[in-house]
Point group: C2
Chain length 552, copies 2
């Protein structure tokens, strides 16, 4: 592999550890706190996790190590979408494990959870590990989306662990993967396999956070990468003064990324899915909001701007949800009749006849190509594929229509020329920022400490993250503490609650207090590329979201 | 304006100057070299530039300054598309001018060349200038695309200069803008206005280069920004192992950006427009090249990859050029007949009947939506709009068709799932890399030296750029030296020759010697984000293109 100069330089970076983990492993003690209970549905969840429910919180501190000494054979798994820093969780885990005992072994299961089921792994050594220190991507062992959730899978996993004398599994993943880690831990405990399970909180989406997880890893680097690009585009908009840029950013189920990017770059408009849902905003209301910024800026002679749109927006618009539901029901009942129609005009008339008048009104304001896509391009179950809609283009076309109307009414007299962008894959595998490199290394290192003290069903936690790394705190919490019961695929299941953007939270409030000014004036901020060297004020600060949340 | 931490830090950066410019302005002497002549069409060009043709090359060196002392009032103009570093040309010019005399004045004409015609400018002072040091964008005064090319415009410009006592104009622009700078210089000389004109070579496209310009500014930063993203996507592809990413990069008339990005990131395929034209490649041949990489990788179990496509590709495909020409001719003659056709099938049949069989064959392999777009979505003159074609999507659809055929023939048995990206606006306004910050500052500083020595119709040149800045050389060359006569809009005109990718040049040869390996194996390189601090090996190196060209 040909290495870039930055990659070579990053190999030399020494991630920062929290103070209590810096010492020799023999000088780290576990301090147990209070018993825990799940965030809600305590009885049901306790019943489902008889062996792993209610365990104590753990914090590490300087002091004599009182863990039972034994040889550890640990397996690690990367689960789900890539997030910057995943490699550092592995290298931190490896370093701690080798520090604790030269004969300890770290196995990496390949291509996600399926690697465990297929007994497909590599054994790490120094040489291999050193090629992945402080780098982006999950290519160290690959990732995958297989879910570990059935008893059959657990039995296979138990067998593979037994075969190799595995003492613990570390699962690096998002809310679903950590939920499954807890279920696996319970199974292993019930079956007295002696295999422990530890989770690590990963996702660029930032929706795996709660009282004990301040932020999932990868969010910092991904947002900084998108913000670099958005800032560059803002500067371009402000130089060329002729385009409105509509920028969609990843984040299907929560708008944390969009919000953080807005805090970093101060665009003219940023839409937040959670607000759209909460306020029951219609497509027309969304378009009004954008069009009014376009018109206000145009009145000042500024026919340019920047709009940030979260990837999942459209699925949060109540009237669109209703339309989608009706379309799916309709297709289930009258698919044959619909498919028999040849000409578009007939299909359109069919919709007018069969949809409720509210839903048809929504359908009819969609641009023609999106109408066609919704009806023609359905999934194998016949369902319309809302995720295929290019939301940024839809918003542009709705805004264009609004502006045309406003022009006719004499309320707007500008030029509107729009460009669209989507940033997602660009940020998932960036070299981790110093923050993510440090945080992830600490998470992995700390995961080993939890293993060595015999914990299972725990999440590795590093907290106090808005402070310098020396002040970070290391510990663990039972995964069941984060759980509640939710309806999933028709059944009630114990899951970690997804964290959406809170409209009462500090980050959204900071944004909403300023956005009226941003909508009219040019308040752009240009973050520039992630820096790994140089002043700490440039290189080591984390997201505005975290800073604002921790200020409270 | 809220400033990002990086922006604050970049204000403090002190750009590096070539050794001979570092000294006090009183210790910089001009050394004249040989008389010059244009690269071709010498007689014609001499006739067009009787007052500014054939002037001597100039180099600066340490020695007593022998320039005539006079108060300078300089106007500066940013022309055309943004390129990182433009602000530093202005700050370098400002610093030299103020160093030479406190009462010297720098005026910035707003929104491009039209600012000069409209007498619309600001006068710079320290406070204003300091807000733009080492930053991206052209927002310091804005840019514009008005061309200064008519005698009427020149007369207005002369009047504006006279009104404000302007002694020189600095035009920061690409090949066209510098051509026009030379024509303006000739006019000013002929009219004995006493106003000098100096050009500075700008364009991210990298196509303004020749014997005396090693590289235009902005190319370095823009390519590094795109390469950061391409590298991140490569790492994502290699982690997720399920997508082929088709990435279009800016560069309509030359493929320097695509080639440089390929050298930086080693993708599986990079198409080069100049090669497509030279080898008269058909769309089918292009699709074959990509499909054969897909198939070869798939045979190894790798159903993922990365392809780089230059923005202008399709206009270099000879058969497409021919088709476009025929379509335009056809529409000119039979537009009414065509427009009278209602149904798509009739329009298609009309094409079959009226196009040559070769061109119809090309037309018919285009995806349906592109066929429709070409015929329906024409410009005000009725011409088809080839620039509207989303080349990356076209290539994907042609490759899909190839693979389907190969599958039917048993030559391919993989999965092909493609995603597309376009990177352009993301790079034009990035914070300039150290290279571009230093280079641009030197260009501006040096432009003032040329002014103070009384030169006009010169381009500011900084050379030996593949070496550390201390070894750079500063000087100037008459713009007419770079000219030849070309057919433009039906008339023969003196212009600076655009530099296309040379298939015999070192950068392309380096690429072509390795691409067969890259097409099959995974040789990705991950450049990461531009670094402004840290080891010189990471922060101060410039493009591979320049390094390879200067090695020869």
């Amino acid at each position: 592999m040909e290495l870039s100069p930055l990659q070579k330089a990053r190999y030399e970076y020494r991630p920062k550890l929290p103070e209590m983990l810096k010492d020799d492993i023999g000088n780290i003690k576990a301090v147990e706190g209070r018993n825990t209970q799940s965030v809600s549905d305590q009885e049901e969840i306790e019943k489902l996790f008889p062996n792993t429910y209610g365990m104590k919180e753990v914090a590490f501190a300087k002091g004599e190590n009182h863990a039972e000494k034994k040889r550890q054979v640990v397996g690690v798994i990367l689960s789900g979408g890539q997030a910057p820093g995943g490699h550092n969780v592995v290298t931190g885990l490896y370093d701690a494990l080798k520090k604790a005992g030269k004969d300890n072994v770290l196995l990496g299961f390949k291509n996600g959870p399926s690697g465990l089921l297929e007994d497909n792994f590599i054994e790490f050594d120094d040489k291999y590990i050193d090629c992945y220190r402080n780098t982006g991507g999950f290519d160290i062992i690959g990732s995958g989306r297989t879910k570990l959730e059935t008893e059959e899978q657990f039995a296979v996993a138990a067998e593979v662990c037994k075969k190799h004398g595995i003492t613990a599994i570390v699962i690096i993943g998002g809310d679903d993967s950590n939920t499954n880690a807890a279920v696996l831990a319970e199974y292993f405990a019930k079956m007295k396999t002696g295999v422990q399970v530890i989770g690590c909180p990963k996702t660029i989406d930032g929706d795996l956070k709660n009282d004990v997880i301040e932020i999932s890893f990868g969010f910092d680097t991904a947002c900084k990468t998108y913000s670099e690009l958005i800032g560059n585009i803002e500067r371009d908009a402000n130089s060329a003064k002729k385009y409105w840029h509509f920028i969609k950013v990843m984040g299907r189920s929560a708008s944390h990324i969009a919000l953080e990017c807005a805090l970093e770059t101060q665009p003219n408009v940023c839409l937040i899915s959670e607000e759209v849902e909460e306020k029951k905003m219609s497509l027309s209301a969304i378009a009004d909001q954008v069009a009014s910024s376009v018109a206000a800026r145009s009145a000042k002679g500024d026919n340019f701007g920047v709009v940030i749109i979260p990837e999942g927006l459209i699925e949060f618009v109540p009237e669109v949800k209703k339309l989608i539901g009706e379309l799916n029901d309709l297709m289930a009942i009258k698919e044959k009749e619909f498919n028999a129609l040849d000409v578009w005009e007939d299909k359109y008339a069919f919709m007018q006849k069969n949809l409720s008048s509210e839903s048809f009104a929504v359908f009819s304001i969609l641009p023609l190509d999106i109408e066609k896509q919704l009806l023609m391009d359905r999934d194998p179950h016949g369902n319309v594929q809302v995720s295929r809609i290019e939301t940024e283009k839809l918003i542009i076309s709705l805004v264009e229509a609004k502006l045309k109307k406003m022009k006719a009414e004499g309320k707007y007299n500008g030029k509107f020329s729009a460009l669209n962008h989507f940033f997602g894959y660009e940020g998932r595998c960036a070299f981790p920022s110093n923050f993510d490199a440090d945080y992830c290394y600490s998470l992995g290192y700390n995961a080993f400490m939890l293993i060595s003290y015999g914990y299972t069903g725990y999440l590795s936690t590093i907290t106090n993250l808005s402070k310098p790394a020396t002040e970070w705190k290391a510990g663990g919490i039972p995964i069941t503490k984060m759980m509640n019961m939710e309806q999933r695929h028709g059944a009630k299941k114990p899951v970690i609650r997804k964290a959406l953007v809170e409209l009462g939270g500090a980050p959204f409030r900071y944004f909403s207090e300023r956005r009226e000014k941003w909508a009219v004036e040019t308040c752009y901020t240009f973050p520039g590329a992630i820096q790994y060297y140089g002043p700490a004020s440039v290189c080591d600060i984390t997201t505005k979201t975290l800073a604002l949340e921790q200020e409270k």
